[in-house]
C-alpha cells in the first residue's frame, strides 16, 4: 500500500499566491478518480472547480471551508491506489474517462466521520466496509456500517447486513451514537451543526444527511464590483512584479495575413457555423508551433536560470466584460491543428465568461499570447507573466498599402510583437521568432484540421511535427 498523497492548494495561474477553500465536494472515505472535482476554490479572479490528480480514497480533510491558505498548502490526504490497478493511471493529457464504480480490493476506504478521521490512531484501522455501494446504501438507511457485524467474506459488511440492521435499528441494540448517519455527522461537523437539535427522518429517528438544514450559498463567492476590484488587485500584483523583476525588450514585425486569411475563408466557406475558424485560433496555433522551435522563448526563469519548457502550453489572455483578464491555458498547443485550437479556445472563453473554469484550465503556461482582436489598437507591447520569459501580442488586423514584389497593393496586416526577458534571451532571438512566425503564416504548413482533407480549399495536409 502506498503512502497517502497530499492534495495541495494548486497554483491556478501566475498571479495566484493564495486561495480560499469554499467547499469540499468529497469527504473522508470517498473514492475519487483522477479528474474528479473535489473542491471549489476562490481566487481573486474567479471561483474554480479543483480536480484531483490521483485515483484513490480521501483520508482526511485538513482545511475547513472558508479558510484562505497559500498555494502548496496541504488541503487533504488521499490514499492513492497502487499503480497498475485498473483505472488508477491515466496519461496527463487525457481527459478523465467515465468508469464504472469500482470496489477497491486492497485499499480500505475510511467511512469515519471527520472527528475520527483526524485521530491518527484510527486512520489505519482496516475498515470492514469496503464497498462504496454498501456504504452509500447504509448512509441512505441511516445505519453506521462500521458498527455492524459483517457476515461476508473476512467479516465484511454486506448489503444484507445493512438491511437487517436498518430493520432492527429502532431496537435498543443501536446505541445513541447510531442516531445519525456517518455522512450526516461528517457534514454536521464541517458546518458546526449540533445533531441532537436536528429532527431525523431515518429509521428510529436517525438523522440523515438530507435532514440537515439547507446550506447557505457559496460563502466567499464574490460578485460584481467586489470581483472586479479583486481581479484588478491580482493583475496589479503580477504586473508590478514583472516590471520590477524582468528587464523587458520588445521586437515588432508586420505580417501580411492575406495567405492565412484566404486559407481560413476557403475552409469556412464549406463549413457550418459551429465548425468555422477564427483568425485568433490560427494565430495561436501558429505561435505554438513557432515556440516549439524556439525554446529560449518558451519556458521559465527559475532561480537565476532560463529553463526551457518540455511542451508548449499557451496562456491565452481572455478579457472579462467587467474589466480585467484571465489567462487560461491551451496545453500542448504546438501539436494541435487550428480546428482543435479553435475548439479549446471556444471552451475556455465560455468557461471564463460563465465563471466555470476548472483547475486544469489554469496554471503551467510556458508562453502567453494576447490578441487585441477586431476592436483593438494596431499593436500591443506586452508585459511578461513571470516566471515565463516571453509574451506574444497581436493587434487588430487592418487593411493597409503593402509592397509585394515591387507592386503596391492593399493587404490585411497584423502587427506582431514579442516581449522578451532580456535575462533569458536577446532581441535577435525575438526577431528570429517573429520571422519564423511570419514564414509559417505565409505557408501551408499550419494544419487547419486533423481530419483527412476532402476538398477543403484545396489545401494539402502538411507533415505533423513529431
Amino acid at each position: 500500500m502506498s503512502a497517502p498523497t497530499e492534495f495541495t492548494m494548486p497554483s491556478l495561474g501566475a498571479d495566484m499566491d493564495a486561495g480560499t477553500l469554499l467547499e469540499w465536494r468529497v469527504g473522508p472515505g470517498d473514492h475519487v478518480r483522477r479528474g474528479d472535482v473535489v473542491a471549489v476554490v476562490d481566487t481573486e479572479k474567479s471561483t474554480i472547480d479543483v480536480e484531483v490528480f490521483v485515483t484513490g480514497v480521501v483520508e482526511e480533510l485538513l482545511v475547513q471551508p472558508g479558510t484562505e491558505v497559500p498555494v502548496g498548502t496541504p488541503l487533504a490526504t488521499i490514499r492513492a491506489e497502487e499503480p497498475g490497478h485498473p483505472g488508477t493511471v491515466s496519461p496527463p493529457e487525457q481527459q478523465p474517462v467515465e468508469q464504472p464504480v469500482e470496489i477497491p480490493p486492497e485499499t480500505p476506504p475510511e467511512s469515519a466521520p471527520a472527528a475520527a478521521a483526524s485521530d491518527p490512531a484510527r486512520r489505519h484501522v482496516e475498515s470492514r466496509v469496503q464497498s462504496p455501494l454498501v456504504r452509500h446504501h447504509a448512509e441512505d438507511l441511516g445505519v453506521d456500517p462500521e458498527r455492524l457485524t459483517g457476515t461476508g467474506p473476512g467479516g465484511r459488511v454486506t448489503r444484507h447486513d445493512v438491511d437487517v440492521a436498518a430493520r432492527t435499528s429502532s431496537a435498543a441494540d443501536a446505541p445513541a451514537a447510531a442516531g445519525s448517519s456517518p455522512a450526516a455527522r461528517r457534514r454536521a461537523a464541517e458546518r458546526g451543526i449540533d445533531l441532537a437539535a436536528v429532527p431525523g427522518t431515518g429509521p428510529g429517528g436517525a438523522v440523515r444527511e438530507r435532514d440537515l438544514p439547507p446550506e447557505a450559498p457559496r460563502t466567499a463567492a464574490r460578485t460584481g464590483a467586489d470581483r472586479s476590484a479583486s481581479v484588478r488587485t491580482a493583475i496589479a500584483r503580477l504586473m508590478e512584479r514583472s516590471n520590477a523583476e524582468i528587464p523587458h525588450f520588445h521586437v515588432v514585425s508586420t505580417i501580411d495575413m492575406s495567405a492565412a486569411l484566404a486559407r481560413l475563408a476557403a475552409a469556412n466557406a464549406t463549413r457550418r457555423p459551429a465548425d468555422r475558424l477564427l483568425p485568433a485560433a490560427l494565430l495561436l496555433a501558429a505561435v505554438a508551433r513557432t515556440a516549439a522551435r524556439h525554446p529560449a522563448l518558451n519556458g521559465h526563469w527559475v532561480d537565476g536560470h532560463a529553463v526551457p519548457a518540455d511542451g508548449v502550453h499557451l496562456g491565452v489572455a481572455v478579457s472579462l466584460r467587467g474589466g480585467g483578464l484571465v489567462t487560461p491555458v491551451i496545453r500542448d498547443a504546438d501539436r494541435l491543428a487550428v480546428d482543435e485550437v479553435m475548439r479549446r479556445l471556444g471552451d475556455l472563453v465560455g468557461r471564463v465568461r460563465s465563471g466555470s473554469l476548472r483547475s486544469s484550465d489554469l496554471g503551467g503556461a510556458t508562453l502567453t499570447v494576447t490578441n487585441l482582436g477586431e476592436q483593438g489598437a494596431e499593436a500591443v507591447f506586452g508585459v511578461i507573466h513571470p516566471p515565463q520569459v516571453a509574451l506574444v501580442g497581436f493587434g487588430r488586423i487592418v487593411e493597409r498599402p503593402w509592397a509585394v514584389d515591387g507592386m503596391l497593393g492593399v493587404r490585411p496586416l497584423v502587427t506582431a510583437t514579442l516581449a522578451g526577458d532580456h535575462r533569458a534571451a536577446d532581441g535577435i532571438a525575438g526577431s528570429r521568432f517573429l520571422a519564423a512566425l511570419d514564414r509559417l503564416l505565409q505557408s501551408d504548413d499550419l494544419p487547419l484540421t486533423d481530419l483527412p482533407l476532402t476538398g477543403e480549399g484545396g489545401a494539402t495536409r502538411p507533415e505533423e511535427t513529431p
Binding site: 469556412n268 457555423p273 468555422r276 477564427l278 466584460r321 471556444g346 472563453v349 477586431e374 476592436q375
Partner: protein, 79 residues
C-alpha cells in the same frame, strides 16, 4: 422570417451567449463590439446559436463584431 421573429431569435441567442448583457438599454444600431462589448468569439457563438435555433446559416464574414444587432436581425430576416 419576418423582422419581429428575427429580433426575438437574436435576443434569445444573445441571452444564451452573453446572459450578463441587457440589450434593452443599448443602441441596436451601433457596432456590437462597442455597444455590447462582444468580441469575435462572442459573435461566432451568436451565429452558431442562431444556426441551431433558426436553421439559418449566415455565411462566414457577413456578420462581424463591427456589425450592429440591427444588421444581424436584418440579415437573419433576409434569409
Amino acid at each position: 422570417m419576418n423582422l419581429d421573429d428575427a429580433r426575438a431569435a437574436v435576443l434569445a441567442a444573445l441571452a444564451i451567449v452573453a446572459p450578463e448583457i441587457d440589450p434593452s438599454d443599448r443602441d441596436a444600431s451601433a457596432p456590437m463590439s462597442v455597444e455590447l462589448e462582444l468580441d469575435s468569439m462572442d459573435v461566432f457563438s451568436l451565429v452558431t446559436e442562431l444556426a441551431a435555433s433558426t436553421g439559418t446559416e449566415i455565411p462566414d464574414g457577413e456578420i462581424t463584431s463591427n456589425s450592429s444587432l440591427d444588421d444581424l436581425v436584418e440579415r437573419l430576416a433576409a434569409a
